[in-house]
Structures are given as structure tokens and as C-alpha cells.
């Protein structure tokens, strides 16, 4: 155990204490106690920054289930540290924000909220710090669970429960698929340690399980990171309280998939399939999200689709970045890792500006009582600080200089344009989609940024549509977005603060082995890089984005624009309905409630299984050696036996049927005599007589109405099934007989014959076996009889009154 282990476990430990703090220290808002923890963790983690930026990595072991290779190992490198800082840093701000957002200590269930939030924080830290895939998976599912709990925080609202269920179903389905992928990785490499798997990357890529493992892992990453078509849960997750949306659904949890893709790029990145799937899904998600965002009327929904589209952007860049594995950097220069650089940089930028924007939306919601852009407007003079922060955030998101969004957008364009020059994987023909999609998506991004900003803060103030007296937010609500916005400005003006401290080590962990020993990635982010194609693309984005926004009135009436819900929700909702109705149908089909049907199922299954086994293994055989002679009278007895059996189903008189059954029993007793089994014959006779008497007793009590009117009904299925059962059992018996001679096995009966008198002092071998050699069976059969007798007494004497079910 090290302090880094404690970093992961501390939130869970604090979560245990939160209910006590909430219950016993009511006068202080519980959030203040909670806030200390992420702040401490942030300060602790930031101390690793100098070491990490020198290229060091930190690894601590902690065995957990060593026999299965599952260890709670902590590995800290650039990528983990970046995520760790994001989680703890934004976590601190979000907790601070939530203190003022959920200000009503009496009305809000703060204990629940902070327990869930801390659970999420710990799980998220576990995801990014774990070196073991199984540990990672456990924390991964914990984030899904905590996320669902947080979405359904106001569980009395139906939409919240719907959103929680949806996100749970989608992310857990993806998580389980990912578990399959991890298992396949284990099968290929015999280890769960990510570092050891990366070390074996060149072996894995030739393995036939490579593609299935890759697809399974990507399913987990794509569902978590809301990539198309799994993005539909994210807009519905906006029913959560705004701090949750800001924290989980913009800055941290949805980036877990990004983290996983970045972390496993060294394993899978060399495959062309990886390049195409990751970058293809990413670029399409980018376009889909930005186009969908512009149709929304709710501020949080706009931000949700915006998050989807920005995540797609990062994902696409990670995919493009994997092309670096195919080139010798020393030869072709720095061209191909620009994409990875842009991905890491935009990851940081997105966390800052999206977090602040969510908080701004929360403030607007808090102060005006609505998030609907049709009701809002003209808040600029009323809420000046909020306005300023929102301006910075939106401009950064839209990609306008001098904010950090501009820098990452420029780099994104560079990477997309570079993608067309790649001479691998048919990029000459298809490569053009990257810059085109990127450009169109950026235009729409610019459009929805303007829409969001202008509709909220500019235009006319409409107090008649608002329920509250509008005024500026309290300072506590404003501090977190101000901090984030200042980071946006700082990173925008001085991007190289980040360059070698965190971006370069992160790139080194995403693309290990690309550079020669001792070399470092060249990271230099700058605003002005001359009149090149990226600059013209940005100009085009601004011009066309503004055009889209200015003409919004014209096409806001079109069907495309009015349809707010994502069309893929139709698929999700209906497949849930189909799943329920389909399984109901299947259940109703087989669970008829009729014993007759269940017997048919069982018999058909037995016949099928036995028949199939016989055919498959060719075990059917008839062997007539060692067959005894049959005296002529036996033929007649057997004939009577058969005749009685065949006649039985056709007898329509109940008592006759009972008597016929009695004859069957007598004949069986006779057969026992013929085959020299006097004890059996005795018992058989007695039992048969008692049975006949019992049958008569039972039939006497049948209801009056149907008495004596019994006619056996004919069913073709029953005939077929019964013939099948008889046939299969007969064939099996014949085969067993034949086999027992072709594979002779010594019978143990000789032992009993020889030792019955000597060891057990009895001449009746059957009885000696029953009470001496195998006495335990007899004892238990006596117990069975005793239980049956007791049960009969209970059934008769203790009949429940007024109930049918006894």
C-alpha cells in the first residue's frame, strides 16, 4: 500500500463518513467537509508533476487476488496524472459549486448526493490509476453505478429515473462487452497488467483473437464516451443536478472511454481497423452531435450534444494519432503526432470550458427558473459576471482566438488536413472526409455556440416569462466557473505552460515506442502559424457559422429543426418494448401452466437427447448372443401383459381401469417368480393390492358430475411423444444389453454370493444386501415412507379452510 493507493480509496472512506457528518453536524453544509478531500488529492497529485514531466513513471503493487492475476496496482504516468488532476481539480470546483447549488440543507438529501459523488470520484480515480485491467473494470462499473445514482438523484421525477435506467443499461452493456475484451486480452497475453500487455503488443496483433478483443474493448469505450450510436443516454442524463452534469457528463466520466482508447492505443493502434473505427466513429459523432445540438431548445441539452460532438472530436484525433505507429518519425518528421497532441490538448480545454459552461447554465437555471432558450434573453446587464464567464466559455468552444479552444481547433484542422496526405489504409481515396466533416461540424459548433450565448444573454429581457426575480448569482456559485474560465484564458494565452509539464508526458504514454530512446515529442503550441489552409478554414467556420445563426429564423420552422429528440431514441425505446413483449411472448408460449405440456417438453427433450446421442456416437446395437431361452407359457403371459397395457388407455370405465392396473401388477409379480425373485414378488403383490385399494378410495371421492363419464382423449402429439419415448427406451435397453457383452465388466454380485453367509450370517442374499451390505439405502427408504405417511396425515387433518391450495 502506498499513498497513491490511498488516493483511490480515500473517497470511498470519506463516503462512509458522510452520512454521520450529515446527521450530526447539521449546521454546516456537508459539502464543506467533502470539498477538503479533492482539494487535498489535487495538491498531492500535482506534486508528481515535476517527476512525470521528466519522463518518470511511478508504479506501486498491491496484491489483491494474486492467484487470478488480479492486483490493485497503481501506475502513474502522464496520461494517468492528467486525468487524476482533471478529476480532483474539477471535483473540488464542482463540490464547491454544489454547496451553493444545493443550498437548501433541509430539502435536499445531501448525504445521498455526496456519498454518490465521492463514490464516483474514487471509482474514476481507480479507473485512471489502475494498471490492472480487472481492477480497472471494477472501477469502471462503479462509475456507471454512481452515475446512474446521481442522474436519479431526484428520484421522484419520472424523467430522472428514465435517464438513469437508460444510462445504466447502455454503459453497463458496454462495460460487460469490455470485460469480454479484457478476458480475450488475458487469453492472448496471460496477464491483466496493462504495461505487460503493451509490452506484448507485437505478439497480440498477429493473434486471431485480436479483432474480437479490439471490438469488445471499443464497445466499452464508445458506450461510456457517448460515441455514435451509443450517445443517446447522455442528453437524457441531463436530468441530473447541474453539478453532476458538469462533473460527470462533461469533464470526467464521459472521458473514461477516451482514457481507455488512449491507454490501449499502444496495444491496438498498429492495426488499420483501429485507425478506421476510432477515427471514423469519432468524426461521425462529431458531426452528428454538432448538428443535433443546434436543434435543441434546452441549454443543458445543447451542452449535452456539444459534449457528444467534442468527445467525437477527441476520439477522431486519437484514431488519427495512431497512424504514427506506421511511420518512422525520424524520417517523416513531426507530422503524424499532431493529432495526438491535439487530442490531449483539446481534452484539457474541453474539461475547462465545458465545466464552466455547465456551471453557467446551472446558474442561469438557478436564478431564472428555466433553461429554455425561448424564454431567456437579455441577461447581460442583469448578470454581468455570469455573462463574462459564459462569453469566454462559448468563444473557446466555438474556437475563436485568443482562447484555448481556438488552439486545439487549429490543431484539429491541421491533423484532419494531414490525414488526407497519409499514404496508408486507402486514405488517398477516403481521407478527404476528415477535413470536410471536421469543417462542417465546426460550422455547426460555431452556430450552436452563438445560439446558446445570444439567446441567453443578448436580446430583450422577458421577465413576464420567468417565475423568479432575476439577479446575479451568489459569489460561491460564481467562483468555480470563474476559476475554470480563467484557466481557459491562461491556457489560451500561454499554452506552452502545459506543453512539457503534462501534454508531452501524456503523449509519451499514448505513443510509446514511436520515438527513439531519449527523444521527446516536440510540443509547441502557438497562435499564429501564417496564412495556411487551417486559418482559412477557421475563417470559413466563423463566416458560415454566423450565416447559419443569422438565418436561423428562416429554417427554424423546418421539420429538421423542430425535431429535438435524437432519432436513435426511437430505436432504443422500441427495442426495450420489443424486448419485454418478446420475452413475454416466449414465456407465455412455454409456461402454459398445464402439466401436460411440461411433460411433453421433458419427454421430447429426453427422446431428442438420447436419440441424438445414439446417432451421433453410433451406439445403437442389437446383439442376440447370451439371450436365454423363452418357455412357451412366458409368451402367453407377456402377451397378456401387452394386451392389458395396450387396452388400458382405451378403457372408459374407471374401476375397470383400476382392476386392469391390478392385473398388470399381478403379472409383473408373476414375472418376478419366473425370474426367481421371491422377495420381489411378495413385495410387489402386497404393494399392488394396497395401490388398488388406494385408487378405489381416491376414485370414490371424485366429483359427482364427471363420475363414470371418463373418456380418454386422443392427441396426436401425445401419441407421437409416447411412441418416441417407448422406442428410445427400448432401443437404449437393447443397446445396453449388447454393449454389456461387447465391453464386459465384472459384476460385483459374485462377492455377495460368496460372502453373504460368511460375513453377514444370512442365507437370503437380497435381505442381507438390504440390511447389511447396503443398509443405508434401506434406512433412507424407511424415512421416505415415514415422510409420506406423515404428509398424508398432515394433508388430511390440517386442511386449510377456505383455500384451494392444499
Amino acid at each position: 500500500m502506498s499513498l497513491l493507493h490511498l488516493v483511490v480509496l480515500a473517497p470511498f472512506i470519506l463516503a462512509l463518513l458522510v452520512p454521520f457528518l450529515y446527521k450530526y453536524i447539521r449546521q454546516v453544509h456537508t459539502g464543506w467537509f467533502v470539498m477538503i478531500l479533492p482539494l487535498t488529492l489535487f495538491i498531492y497529485l500535482i506534486q508528481f508533476l515535476p517527476n512525470i514531466s521528466r519522463g518518470e513513471t511511478i508504479f506501486y503493487q498491491q496484491p489483491w487476488v494474486p492467484s487470478l492475476g488480479i492486483n490493485f496496482d497503481i501506475y502513474l504516468d502522464g496520461l494517468s496524472l492528467l486525468f487524476g488532476l482533471l478529476i480532483t481539480g474539477i471535483g473540488t470546483l464542482v463540490v464547491l459549486y454544489s454547496i451553493y447549488y444545493l443550498y437548501n440543507k433541509q430539502k435536499e438529501a445531501l448525504n445521498n448526493f455526496y456519498v454518490y459523488l465521492l463514490m464516483f470520484m474514487g471509482a474514476m480515480l481507480g479507473v485512471v490509476l489502475s494498471d490492472n485491467l480487472m481492477t480497472l473494470y471494477i472501477f469502471w462499473e462503479l462509475t456507471s453505478l454512481a452515475s446512474s445514482l446521481l442522474i436519479a438523484y431526484w428520484f421522484h421525477k419520472e424523467r430522472s429515473r428514465y435517464g438513469a435506467q437508460k444510462s445504466m443499461l447502455i454503459t453497463v452493456a458496454g462495460g460487460l462487452t469490455m470485460l469480454a475484451g479484457f478476458s480475450l486480452l488475458f487469453v492472448m497475453t496471460n496477464t491483466f497488467s496493462i504495461r505487460e500487455i503493451i509490452a506484448q503488443a507485437d505478439v497480440i496483433i498477429t493473434n486471431p483473437l485480436f479483432i474480437p478483443a479490439m471490438l469488445c474493448v471499443l464497445a466499452g469505450a464508445f458506450t461510456k464516451s457517448a460515441q455514435f450510436p451509443f450517445h443517446i443516454w447522455l442528453p437524457d442524463a441531463m436530468e441530473a443536478p447541474t453539478p453532476v452534469s458538469a462533473y460527470l457528463h462533461s469533464a470526467t466520466m464521459v472521458k473514461a472511454g477516451i482514457y481507455l482508447v488512449a491507454r490501449l492505443t499502444p496495444v491496438f493502434g498498429a492495426a488499420p481497423q483501429w485507425f478506421w473505427i476510432v477515427s471514423g466513429f469519432g468524426i461521425f459523432t462529431l458531426l452528428w452531435g454538432s448538428v443535433s445540438a443546434i436543434r435543441q431548445k434546452d441549454l443543458k441539452a445543447i451542452l449535452a450534444f456539444s459534449t457528444i460532438s467534442q468527445l467525437g472530436l477527441i476520439m477522431a484525433l486519437l484514431g488519427l494519432g495512431s497512424a504514427a505507429f506506421h511511420y518512422d518519425v525520424a524520417v517523416v518528421g513531426t507530422l503524424y503526432y499532431t493529432a495526438t497532441l491535439a487530442a490531449v490538448f483539446h481534452l484539457i480545454n474541453h474539461a475547462t470550458f465545458k465545466g464552466s459552461l455547465f456551471m453557467i447554465v446551472g446558474i442561469v437555471d438557478h436564478e431564472t427558473g428555466t433553461r429554455d432558450i425561448r424564454k431567456l434573453g437579455g441577461l447581460m446587464t442583469i448578470m454581468p459576471i455570469t455573462f463574462t464567464v459564459a462569453l469566454i466559455g462559448t468563444l473557446s468552444m466555438a474556437g475563436v482566438p485568443p482562447f484555448n479552444g481556438f488552439l486545439s481547433k487549429e490543431m484539429f484542422f491541421t491533423a484532419a488536413v494531414n490525414a488526407t496526405t497519409l499514404d496508408i489504409f486507402n486514405m488517398q481515396t477516403f481521407g478527404l472526409i476528415f477535413p470536410i466533416f471536421a469543417w462542417i461540424a465546426s460550422i455547426f459548433t460555431f452556430g450552436y455556440c452563438m445560439l446558446m450565448f445570444v439567446r441567453t444573454f443578448l436580446g430583450n429581457f422577458k421577465p413576464e416569462k420567468l417565475e423568479k426575480e432575476v439577479h446575479e448569482a451568489p459569489i460561491g456559485l460564481l467562483i468555480p466557473p470563474i476559476v475554470l474560465a480563467s484557466l481557459v484564458v491562461i491556457f489560451g494565452l500561454f499554452p506552452n505552460l502545459l506543453a512539457y509539464s503534462i501534454i508531452e508526458p501524456t503523449m509519451a504514454s499514448i505513443l510509446p515506442g514511436v520515438l527513439a530512446e531519449g527523444e521527446r515529442f516536440y510540443v509547441n503550441i502557438y497562435h499564429w502559424h501564417g496564412f495556411n489552409i487551417e486559418l482559412f478554414m477557421t475563417m470559413g467556420v466563423v463566416v458560415f457559422g454566423a450565416l447559419i445563426f443569422l438565418n436561423l429564423k428562416k429554417w427554424s420552422e423546418t421539420a429538421f429543426f423542430l425535431k429535438e429528440r435524437d432519432p436513435l431514441n426511437w430505436v432504443y425505446d422500441n427495442s426495450l418494448v420489443w424486448l419485454v413483449s418478446g420475452s413475454l411472448k416466449v414465456t407465455n408460449m412455454q409456461m402454459t401452466g398445464l402439466l401436460r405440456d411440461y411433460f411433453v417438453f421433458m419427454s421430447v427433450f429426453i427422446v431428442g437427447l438420447m436419440g441424438y446421442t445414439m446417432v451421433k456416437y453410433n451406439t445403437f446395437a442389437i446383439d442376440l448372443i447370451n439371450v436365454a431361452d423363452i418357455p412357451p407359457y412366458i409368451f402367453i403371459i407377456i402377451f397378456v401383459l401387452i394386451a392389458t397395457t395396450v387396452a388400458l388407455p382405451f378403457i372408459s370405465h374407471r374401476v375397470t381401469a383400476i382392476v386392469a392396473t391390478g392385473i398388470l401388477g399381478f403379472i409383473v409379480a408373476l414375472l418376478f417368480v419366473v425370474f426367481r425373485a421371491p422377495d420381489l414378488a411378495l413385495t410387489q403383490l402386497l404393494v399392488e393390492t394396497v395401490m388398488v385399494v388406494l385408487f378405489l378410495l381416491a376414485f370414490y371421492h371424485l366429483p359427482e358430475l364427471r363420475k363414470e363419464k371418463f373418456t380418454p382423449r386422443f392427441r396426436f402429439t401425445n401419441l407421437v411423444v409416447s411412441i418416441g419415448v417407448g422406442l428410445v427406451v427400448t432401443l437404449t435397453a437393447l443397446s445396453v444389453h449388447a454393449m454389456s457383452y461387447s465391453h464386459p465388466i465384472q459384476s460385483i454380485s459374485d462377492y455377495y454370493v460368496q460372502n453373504a453367509y460368511e460375513l453377514a450370517a444370512g442365507k437370503n442374499i437380497v435381505n442381507v444386501i438390504l440390511v447389511d451390505f447396503r443398509g443405508v439405502d434401506t434406512m433412507l427408504e424407511i424415512v421416505v415412507l415415514g415422510i409420506a405417511a406423515l404428509a398424508i396425515v398432515v394433508l388430511i387433518r390440517l386442511r386449510m379452510t377456505g383455500s384451494e391450495d392444499v
Partner: protein
Amino acid sequence: MLEISLNIALIIMSMSIFVCFIRIVKGPTMSDRVVALDTIGITLIGIIGIIMIIQNTLAYAEVILVIAILAFIGTIALAKFIEGGVIFDRDRN
């Protein structure tokens, strides 16, 4: 010689069981069936006796006794069933 005659006797007795069985199936009244069942029991006693001669054993003597008792008890039970529909009387006096 003895062997052959014993076998012939067995065949005849088996056919007698079959004939009784036909009576049980057809028997217009309940009493016909009960009498047929009783006859089958007695015939079984005969068959078992002959089998004891063939197999040269005394092991089935108990079986014969039991069948004799059971045939009696069974016939009584069925007769009571036909008579009153009740086999065991509730009145213990």
C-alpha cells in the same frame, strides 16, 4: 414327460388368465370383473406352484400364501366397494 405336461399346464393356465382378462375388460357389471380378478389370483397360485416344480425350489411358498390372502382381501374390498362405495367404515363401534 413331466416337463412337457407341466409346460402344457402352464400354457393352459396362462390362456385362462387371458380369458379372465377379456372378461374384466368386457364384463358388463362390476361383479363380473371382480370375480374375474379373483379367478386370476387363484390361477396365479397354480402357475406359481407349477413353476416351483419346474425350478425345483420351495422359495415361492410364501408367495402362494400371500396371493391367497390378498385375493381374498381384494375381493372382499371390491365387494364392499360395490355394495356401499365405502371400503373402511367410519363407525368404529
